[in-house]
Amino acid sequence: MTELPNKAIGYKQDFSVEELVGKHIDGVTGLVFETEEDYLNHVSPVTGATPKDIEHQDALTDGKFSKVSEAALKRGEERKEE
């Protein structure tokens, strides 16, 4: 049996709709967590990083997320100078 990541309570398909009320689901893996904090702090079995790490998003988007960030920062700086 595969061990669940820290704080995960199972996979989405293991729960009924009623049991999922108020829960937090990782959209990539289907892992279910009781709280948002548990979700944010778990290490993804897909990326090896937590959802708080930019490496997590980069791994899921083939590096595109870093470019999204760069563009967002550029827009923010341009508006600051206006």
């Binding site: 709709v17 009623e18 999922l20 009320v21 108020g22 829960k23 937090h24 689901i25 990782d26 959209g27 990539v28 948002e36 979700y39 944010l40 959802p51 708080k52 790490d53 930019i54 997590h56 998003q57 899921l60 870093s66 960030s69 760069e70 967002a72 920062l73 827009r75 923010g76 700086e77 508006r79 600051k80």
Partner: protein
Amino acid sequence: MAATIEIDEANGAGETLTHNITNTNMGSSDAANLDAVANPIVPGDRTYIKYQKFHVTNMGGSSKIDNLKVWRTGSLGTGGTHAHVTNARTSSYGGALTYATPVNTAVTGVDQTMPTSEPGSANLGIGGSLTGNLTATGSSDYLGHQITTDASATAGSTSTMNYQYDETA
């Protein structure tokens, strides 16, 4: 380092939150990461409304996230009359959309036409205001959107949703 942001979607009667959705497909079921082929819309029906939000999971040393813009690129398909409606708007913003169990009927306040190019200014709020911002982890207001069809609508349209934010170091 930059902020880390994901798009989340809420579903169900009790607001089950799916983090970091992998698609925003719309159809005849209330579910995140929907399989549109398995959940086709009957022509004349609306899709189930989507309740989605920007979620900052880490500010990454940046000071502010704001100026949220959403829009769709690509057509809604051929045959009949379609519309993509939303609560997003650049003026007369109605405040934060309150979550309710998603339905496939009209929702009050979700009656604006989804832009098909980048809006000139923010069209989704934070804390109920288009001039709102996030300076710590947290989420935007809910973006509500759905597709309306008529009896002549044909299946199989694919387009792209854009979710854009500005970040200040």
